[in-house]
């Protein structure tokens, strides 16, 4: 019975996945299908397969970003937030307004935060909103660079019209695959991120392969996206190709690659680790809007052609799209707030649990950087269990027992982000190393453990 209830609650996530498949798949293959370089059936098949692969293998990175914005802690709340986002996307698509799934999701999470009185991590919100500006700009820059390089290469090699057509077609297929993978990796956080904490699945071990419950959840979300691609994306794909600017097949290829690159850099845990290992600033892993990246890329190509390109851009359409970027999160937040009220008061469901006012992982990381005393940092969590800081400092055993569940939770969190376990790599004096830093909870536990060992009979 509990499983059935959970699956019913998951249905809104699947609806959101369907909406995303119907809309966002056009970002990967829309220009290719609209320019008739690739058949819709081919595009839909490739898109579906690689969205699922991306979701299962790399979905966790961007999903964490939304968790930092607001951790919806009750399944009915997650259901309602996902439903609000899905309804926003579906309604805006229906009335012909451009919609972005990630923006709708952010709006619905903010609606939940407002309704539940949960604090919104303003740092994460700022980063997410910044990506809404950065991703189209990055898309435009990537598109301009790529297009210039490609044109130079074509002028140098002078390929036959048919060879160029063949290469562009192959490129569109590869870029579409890459784009689909990126949509799966980056967008699945939007679809199933709500339900990570309440996954009804258990970890599976198939021979040498271990499939976690989160991966199974993302697989389900990926399938929902694939259904959306097959059932409703055709019309969107056919219109996306020339809604803003009539694109040549070569420009279509550049747009898809640029869009995929933008999505990739905002969802790749491997890239994050690589940048960190080189001592470079890391790029926040956040779900970004593929539609914004595509629009930015198209604009980049238009601007590259100078005044002629600027004249060809349909500025009225662009204004409509930009207005959608502002209204989507607002509408989702309002719908989310109203739906949460209805679900809580009409259906009597608990849409949020008013507990654990402790620190969110993002806040813990900031506190780590500020080098605050360990017990001061974990004091709110101890207080939730009726343990005062002074009592904890005098009773290491009690401190250890109380903090143990939090320490496990933090390790799970670090594991999901693909970071090494803090306890395995921590060296004395490394407390400001973000990748290897123990959470304050772990540090406090270590101290308590040391005190216990030193105590007589410990």
């Amino acid at each position: 019975m509990a499983l059935i209830v959970t699956l019913i609650f998951l249905s809104s996530g699947l609806f959101l996945g369907w909406s995303m498949g119907a809309n966002d798949a056009s970002n990967a293959f829309g220009t290719a299908v609209a320019t008739r370089m690739i058949r819709f059936s081919t595009a839909a098949f490739l898109c579906s397969v690689f969205v699922i692969i991306g979701a299962v293998t790399s979905g966790t990175g961007a999903a964490e970003g939304l968790g930092q914005l607001g951790a919806i802690n009750a399944l009915p709340g997650a259901f309602t937030a996902a439903l609000a986002a899905a309804l926003t996307v579906a309604w805006m698509s229906k009335v012909g307004l451009p919609a972005s799934t990630s923006q709708a999701v952010v709006g619905s999470i903010l609606g939940w935060n407002l309704f539940s009185g949960s604090p919104t991590d303003l740092g994460t919100l700022r980063r997410i909103v910044a990506t809404w500006v950065i991703s189209p700009v990055l898309g435009a820059i990537f598109a301009m660079l790529l297009y210039t390089l490609l044109v130079q290469w074509i002028r140098l090699t002078k390929p036959h019209l048919l060879s160029l057509d063949r290469n562009t077609r192959s490129g569109l297929i590869l870029a579409g695959i890459f784009g689909s993978y990126a949509i799966g990796a980056n967008g699945i956080g939007n679809v199933m991120g709500f339900f990570v904490e309440a996954s009804p699945f258990r970890d599976l071990t198939l021979g040498r392969f271990n499939v976690t419950s989160v991966e199974q959840l993302f697989l389900l979300g990926g399938i929902a996206v694939a259904v959306g691609v097959y059932t409703y994306s055709r019309r969107v794909m056919m219109t996306v190709g020339d809604s803003l600017l009539a694109l040549s097949p070569l420009a279509a290829f550049v747009v898809v690659v640029s869009h995929s690159l933008v999505l990739f850099i905002f969802s790749s845990t491997a890239l994050e680790s690589l940048l960190a290992s080189w001592g470079l600033p890391t790029i926040p892993l956040l779900p970004v809007s593929g539609s914004q990246a595509v629009i930015g890329s198209v604009l980049g190509i238009g601007l590259l052609q100078g005044l002629r390109g600027v004249r060809q851009i349909r500025w009225g359409v662009l204004v409509g799209i930009a207005s959608g970027w502002v209204t989507t999160p607002l509408i989702a937040a309002v719908i989310g707030f109203v739906l949460l009220f209805v679900v809580q008061n009409v259906f009597g469901q608990e849409v949020f649990r008013p507990l654990d006012q402790g620190l969110r992982p993002a806040a813990i990381e900031r506190v780590n950087g500020a080098r605050l005393p360990q017990l001061a940092v974990v004091a709110p969590r101890l207080a939730a269990h009726g343990v005062t800081a002074s009592a904890a400092s005098s009773d290491p055993h009690r401190l250890h027992t109380t903090l143990r569940p939090f320490a496990i939770s933090d390790r799970v969190h670090q594991h999901r982000r693909g970071l090494p376990a803090a306890e395995d790599h921590q060296e004395p004096g490394d407390s400001d190393d973000r990748a290897g830093a123990p959470s304050p909870v772990s540090a406090a536990m270590n101290t308590a453990g040391a005190n216990l060992s030193a105590a007589p009979g410990g």
Binding site: T35, R36, M37, R39, V151, I154, R155, K158, P159, H160, L161, L162, S163, D165, R166, S248, P249, L250
Partner: protein, 220 residues
């Protein structure tokens, strides 16, 4: 339909080969027409050379027609060049029409056999030369379109220059024909012959105009 069977792999190269073959045939046809007209001008008779050239032109027209059909079929069945295949088909169709018209005009010349044409031999030879250069320039432009659309403009300019010169030569011949002591029938026949040759350059110019638009659409 051509007997050429497209391979399972390498269809692009195969089709590139067919298009090159088509353009080669057009160029060959143009040369044959030029040789045929010059042979007629030098002999004023329905000689074996003229007939041989006529047969060769007819054979080339047949091969070109087959090649064009094969190319059209492949472009559509294989969904190649979705954005440019309309332009490519129109270009190939126009070039075939040009060859067809040249062949028909030459055939007509063989049928009508205007008397006293050799008296204006040098004038007609100059006119033919200029018209043929115009036609050849447009075939070169068509070849360029498939590899360097931006360079098409240079060749199109040549076509326009040659067409202008052809018009001037045709005007001069017509004036000389009507100034000469000829019957009305002879004057009409010679004027028609000059107009037929001049029309080839006009046709080439029209193809060049379309081609310049196709090239602009493909320019990067």
């Amino acid at each position: 339909m051509s007997n050429e069977t497209p391979p399972l792999f390498g269809k692009t190269r195969f089709l590139e080969g067919l298009i090159d073959q088509f353009l080669d045939q057009i160029s060959e046809g143009i040369i044959l027409v030029e040789m045929g007209i010059k042979a007629y001008l030098s002999n004023d008779e329905d000689t074996d050379i003229c007939l041989e050239k006529l047969n060769q032109i007819i054979e080339i027209k047949r091969r070109c027609s087959e090649l064009r059909r094969t190319i059209v079929t492949m472009l559509y069945t294989e969904m190649l060049l979705p954005d440019a295949r309309g332009d490519v088909l129109r270009l190939l169709g126009s070039l075939f029409e040009l060859l067809d018209e040249m062949g028909d005009n030459y055939q007509e010349l063989m049928i009508v056999q205007p008397r006293r044409m050799p008296e204006f031999g040098q004038d007609f030879a100059d006119l033919t030369n200029m018209a043929i250069r115009s036609v050849q320039a447009v075939v070169v432009a068509a070849r360029t379109f498939f590899r360097m659309p931006a360079a098409v403009r240079d060749h199109i300019n040549e076509v326009r220059v040659f067409e202008d010169e052809t018009d001037k030569l045709a005007w001069r011949i017509k004036r000389r024909i009507f100034a000469a002591d000829l019957s009305f029938e002879q004057r009409t026949q010679l004027r028609e012959a000059a107009a037929m040759i001049d029309a080839l350059a006009d046709k080439a110019e029209n193809i060049g105009d379309s081609l310049s638009i196709f090239a602009i659409k493909r320019s990067l």
